[in-house]
Amino acid sequence: MIMEKSNSAAKTNPRPGEPLLEINNLQVSLPDAPHVKPIIDGINLRINAGEVVALVGESGSGKSMTALSLMQLLPTGLKATSGKIIFDGEDILAMSQRQLNHLRGGRIAMLFQQPQAMLDPTSRVGTQVAEPMRIHRNVDRTAAKARVLELLGEVGIPDPSARADCFSYELSGGMAQRVMIAAALSANPELLIADEPTTALDVTVQAQILKLLDDERRKRKLAVLLITHDLSIVSALADRVAVMYSGRIVEEGPTQRILNSPQHPYTKALIQCSLLKADKDGNLFSIPGGAAQARDLDEGCRFLPRCVTAASANLQERCTHLEPALDSYNDCCKARCWAVKPDGAHSGAHEARRP
């Protein structure tokens, strides 16, 4: 499903293929509670213009917090304590409130998990879709209205003029997500952050929404940061994937390479979970342990308590005391694991131990 993009017509600066967003060594923590470990600990991630990057991981791994820190909308108490988030040459973390407001919705848009909850119940759908362009593009009321109807049509809403007068509770989940997409696209952003955009929808609607997202981002040469735990969505949409565990990226690379030959034990386990295959006793596979314990580790690899590879590969000593760095193991992929050899060939113990 993954296609090489052939974007030649550039929308704005930066052109497709050039970096649009660069997260450098981002750390998010609770400044008021110094004993609590950082929620996000030294993330590096680059998103090129027109590229779809997926951020994968289980709940609590810091995916959504990464997204919110891009918007500078972290929950109260959390702060980006170090690092840089460079968007089109400017550091988001150093921006003023005014610049941020311009950025949010104007150049970076965001989709959320619960589309119906994202719409204000007291205001009509059309008004809400129009908000970003009224704020960011200074479009007047009548022009905005026409544009809203056009957008609603584009995102596949039948009878846009009737729908524009609806309230959020009159829409189904899929409809509401379409409306949210229309609102997100209405100011012509360059980057779309989609935080589990289809998790709350049923499977058939999921597929429609994903198709719509894919179509729109191709049409608009939009860069997308896709946050999800569903690897099938990743394989369908993303160019590159970054796997997060306990506030860190543990593996990163082109989607097909990572999904076909994962190196990090966590990525492997995630893929195995998503296959939903039962073993001979009829039990589904699940990763032993919970993500929470990782935060309590003071040294060593954070995945160690749940890692099957470490035990088998005789790396215990190293894994307990030293945390591996996120190193390239071939020309395009990186992994944070002692068991991964730089040439891409994994230590023999690896394959043998997989159940």
Partner: protein
Amino acid sequence: MSINHLAPSAPTILEPARRTEPSTVAQAIRFIRQRHWSFAVGSLLFLTIAVLLIISPWIIPHDPAAQSLLRRLAGPSAQHWLGTDHLGRDLLSRLLIGGRFSVVIAAVTLILCAVIGTLLGVISARTGGLVDEIIMRVVDLLISFPDVIVAIFMIAIFGPGYTTLIVSLTIVGWTPFARMARGLTLEINSREYIRAAEVLGCTKTFIIFRHVIPNAIRPIAAISFLRFGHKLITVGGLSFLGLGVQPPNADWALMLAESQAYAERAPLLVVAPGLAIFLTALSVTWIGQGLEMKGRNASKAAQ
């Protein structure tokens, strides 16, 4: 695999919620019919009173201040439908004129209180931190003064009058609204659509006026109506104490105070203004109650 946990009541695509543009009258009728009976009855009663008070200068049969000591304390007659008071002034005329002051003061004070209270409450909750702390402590401080005491104090300094009365009643009056608006805002703050608005780059002011207040307005409106009666009685109480309308001008509470001594000889003198205050307060309370009842049903249906 993915479970659809959306509201089962969400309308299907097959049946679009099309609006057939009903006329304003039809909409108004639907609005009233959806509500508790007390809304319709209260509105009707209040409208009647309001219209009577507005047109009173043109319909009163006699000059409300014209005395006729020969006909003092007369019972109802063809000339004086409700009789006369202790100075021979026409009771009906005084009754019609006498409500204007209290009702206007009560309404203006209430609107001021609701607007100021809501704004400060919303700002307090949206800003948080030191601002929140300061506003809420001021509320705590002011709420401990009874409004009548503040009013008496202010009137003692500045003398009676519209402005003094309104200001003095507003000083304390906004506090319950601020508390309530703050509570509502804190709840709305945690809603996803506020986050969505922030993500869309809406400014703080825009979010407050466009998303927070519209979602908080319903309970605030209901409480405003319920508090109208309270305000009316407070204004009445001040007039009764001689701090509101000054004689010879007519005012319901003042009429009550003046005719106390004659309650046995001419009970209507006491009953009529008392009933007028009671009915006005009741009508507005009913409106508020009707609105609130609907509010409860509507939120139940939305879930």
